[in-house]
């Protein structure tokens, strides 16, 4: 049903297009006209389709809650002694019933009545909606087709609308980000109502489990996030120690030394590395690297935890090699050929040229790339969830098990939780911290990269 309606609206849009165009064509028979006839068609079609879409979307957004409240107010006397949860269940049930889905429990007379009311109101609403859409759309069409004349600048109008379209899609992305941010901030504020900001940021002990006991909610959980930060940073540093040298040398080889046929194969290979899902890295870390390290540790007489920061960091390092390498490759290739020629022309060897001219020139960009990689490592979740520890031990020993911010967020939120316990709220606080941290890192990284790009433009 909905599909047929939508299709017929599209058909009308098309007819409007034809109408606008043929009017323009007719005008063009006698006199010259500002834009190509198609633009007049787009213009009239636009003024039908856009009002219809806007009305349709906003109607559908609000109609359901409106209809529900109509139903409830019609049955006010019968449900007067329902409590909140009963009401919610009741609403769920009659919606399901009216849409022909199975519901648990017996179907009371009241429920049946509510369901029929609901479907009645729905039908009315839908009819009204179609009617409203049609009339407003056609009104728009009427106005716009009257505007079609030899002097009307349809081409410019369309250009403006296209501008708005792009603006709208950008707004959607920005609004979504803002929405997520606000909800995180909001929940984090609730958390900081229970737990001191200082205790959170500078506390040395993390054991949110204690707070789960009902009689203790918020009173004695230890939410000192330092161990998590330290663990996160430890793992990230190990990852960078792997990724930066390897990725950088990789980039130097690819951009300066490799013959073009090697590059043609090596680059796509690296991109495959970048395309491996992190979950695969995760079990690679947990199943291959960790046991190997532990075995190796036993062999040389070191005790290496099977969830050691070292193992996780190594694998994470491998994961971000392509990132470092491709960003560095970009900045190294962006160093103008004239720099190389200048240095080679003075009798420098290739490696001297790279060391003394190209790398210093590319350094800011490379630093930017490394910062981006760092923020990627800090935010990485899957590998650490699968291969890092859960216990929040405050240590900088890479052979020990540590936990990270992301791991804790996951463990805090997995399973059934009360959504207002400090334990759950702590996840939002951690998320916010992580967000702020990577935001700052990204901001500086991008600024550095940008500044570097301008240097040669």
């Amino acid at each position: 049903m909905m599909i047929i309606i939508a299709l017929s609206f599209l058909l009308i849009t098309f007819l409007n297009f034809r109408a606008g165009r043929s009017k323009a064509l007719k005008i063009r028979e006698n006199t010259s006209i500002h834009s190509l006839p198609e633009y007049y068609g787009y213009y009239t079609a636009f003024w039908f389709l856009i009002p219809v879409t806007l009305i349709g979307i906003s109607w559908l957004l609000f109609s359901e809650s409106l209809i529900t409240s109509f139903v409830l107010s019609n049955l006010q006397k019968e449900i007067v002694n329902f409590n909140e949860i009963q009401t919610l269940n009741f609403i769920n049930d009659f919606k399901n019933l009216s849409e022909g889905r199975n519901i648990t429990g017996e179907i009371s007379l009241l429920l049946k009545e509510a369901a029929s009311l609901y479907s009645y109101f729905s039908t009315v609403s839908n009819t009204l909606l179609i009617f409203a859409c049609l009339s407003i759309g056609l009104f728009g069409f009427y106005i716009s087709i009257n505007k079609v004349s030899s002097v009307f600048q349809a081409r410019n109008a369309i250009e403006r609308y296209i501008n708005y379209f792009f603006l709208a899609s950008t707004c959607i992305a920005i609004l979504a980000t803002a929405g997520i941010l606000f909800s995180v901030v909001f929940e984090a504020i609730r958390f900081f109502g229970v737990v001191d900001l200082d205790d959170f940021l500078f506390g040395l002990k993390w054991s949110p489990q204690m707070a789960i006991r009902e009689d203790q909610v918020g009173s004695s959980g230890a939410f000192g996030a330092i161990p998590l930060f330290v663990g996160t940073i430890l793992i990230s540093i190990i990852a960078l120690l792997v990724a930066v040298p390897v990725g950088l040398m990789n980039a130097i080889y690819l951009s300066e030394y490799s013959p073009s046929n090697v590059r043609a194969y090596a680059k796509p290979m690296l991109e495959i590395l970048a395309g491996i899902p992190t979950v695969v890295y995760g079990f690679f870390a947990a199943i291959t690297v960790a046991p190997f390290l532990r075995g190796f540790g036993e062999f040389v007489g070191l005790s290496i935890s099977s969830e050691s920061a070292l193992g996780v960091g190594l694998v994470m390092g491998i994961m971000i090699i392509p990132l470092v390498s491709s960003l560095s490759d970009d900045v190294i290739s962006a160093v103008p050929q004239s720099m190389r020629d200048g240095s080679l022309g003075l009798g420098a060897t290739k490696s001297e040229t790279i060391k003394k001219v190209i790398l210093p020139a590319a350094l800011p960009g490379i630093v930017g790339g490394v910062l981006l990689a760092a923020s990627r490592a800090i935010g990485e979740t899957m590998i650490v969830v699968m291969a890092a520890g859960l216990s929040a031990k405050l240590t900088v020993n890479p052979l020990d098990a540590v936990t990270t911010v992301t791991v804790q967020i996951v463990t805090l939120l997995v399973g059934d939780q009360e959504f207002d316990s400090p334990k759950t709220l702590a996840a939002f606080a951690l998320g916010l911290t992580l967000f702020v941290f990577t935001l700052v890192l990204n901001y500086y990284a991008l600024r550095i990269v940008k500044k570097y790009r301008e240097q040669y433009e």
């Binding site: 200048g342 080679l344 003075l346 001297e352 003394k356």
Partner: protein
């Protein structure tokens, strides 16, 4: 005008120099993949003289000049054949590794180059000039290096302008100053030949004049090969001139002869088209 010369064309004029020979080019051919960019070039380059290379765009002037210090090696698809020697030593056969030949690093130290677009390194003015001496270990100590940098900057007439800001970035100078800095950088390694590929084409008339004066001064101690698109400039600064056309070296002779009484009709056309 656009027709190619036939394949066994021989350069007219005089490929020998009156001065003593420093570089000698014999049967030099350059290919970029399938493109035959330089065809059978034979020519001598003499000490203490300025050789101007002229010719329409794409005729192979840059290609030729880049052969002389083997900068074409950096282009994957470029292939150079023939024999080019510096002081009688073949510069292209270093891979045979006999003492009679020369390795490319040494070659480029002895045959310096200045490019069309000034390309100072994004380092301080001092470091730009000190770059070559440092990598070749030309200076015993810091003092030595300071003196060398100063003398090079003095030679290019830049010292007074920059002596108080040697730590500023080389890229902060004006275009003309940058080009003089690049020349200072090139002479700091004490080369014997300096190649210049359109050194003034990115500069205004005043900066151009300074570079021209500088070229005339430098020719006392160096052999210079200068590519230029300006006939006036070529006749002002050069003692010999070579005219290239579609990869052929058409005519080479004293500048006097080339610019006043060229022998080959292609040269005549080009000269008169540009000047008259």
């Amino acid at each position: 005008m656009e027709e190619e010369l036939d394949s066994n064309f021989k350069t007219v004029g005089n490929i020998r120099t009156e001065k003593s020979v420093i570089m000698n080019v014999e049967d030099c051919n350059v290919y970029y993949g399938d493109v035959h960019a330089l065809k059978n070039v034979n020519m001598e380059i003499g000490k203490s003289e300025v050789l101007a290379l002229i010719g329409p765009s794409g005729c192979g002037k840059s290609t030729f000049i880049r052969c002389l210090n083997r900068l074409n090696d950096t282009i994957d698809i470029a292939r150079v054949t023939g024999k080019i020697s510096l002081d009688g030593k073949d510069i292209y056969s270093d891979y045979i590794n006999t003492s009679g030949n020369m390795d490319v690093v040494l070659l480029r130290a002895r045959v310096g180059m200045v490019f069309q677009k000034p390309n100072p390194f994004p380092k301080s003015i001092f470091e730009n000039v000190a770059y070559g001496p440092k990598i070749h270990g030309l200076c015993k100590d810091k003092n030595d290096l300071n003196n060398l940098v100063e003398s090079c900057l003095v030679k290019v007439g830049l010292w007074d302008e920059v002596k108080d800001r040697l730590e500023d970035s080389g890229t902060s100078l004006s275009g003309g100053q940058q080009q003089r800095l690049c020349i200072a950088r090139a002479i700091a390694v004490q080369p014997e030949v300096i190649l210049m590929d359109e050194p003034c084409s990115a500069l205004d008339p005043i900066a151009t004049e300074r570079i021209e004066d500088l070229i005339s001064e430098l020719k006392q101690n160096y052999a210079l090969v200068v590519v230029t698109h300006s006939m006036q400039q070529a006749s002002r600064i050069s003692q010999r001139a070579a005219y290239f056309h579609m990869g052929n070296l058409v005519e080479v002779d004293s500048s006097n002869k080339i610019f006043n009484d060229p022998s080959h009709p292609l040269t005549t056309n080009y000269i008169s088209g540009r000047i008259g």
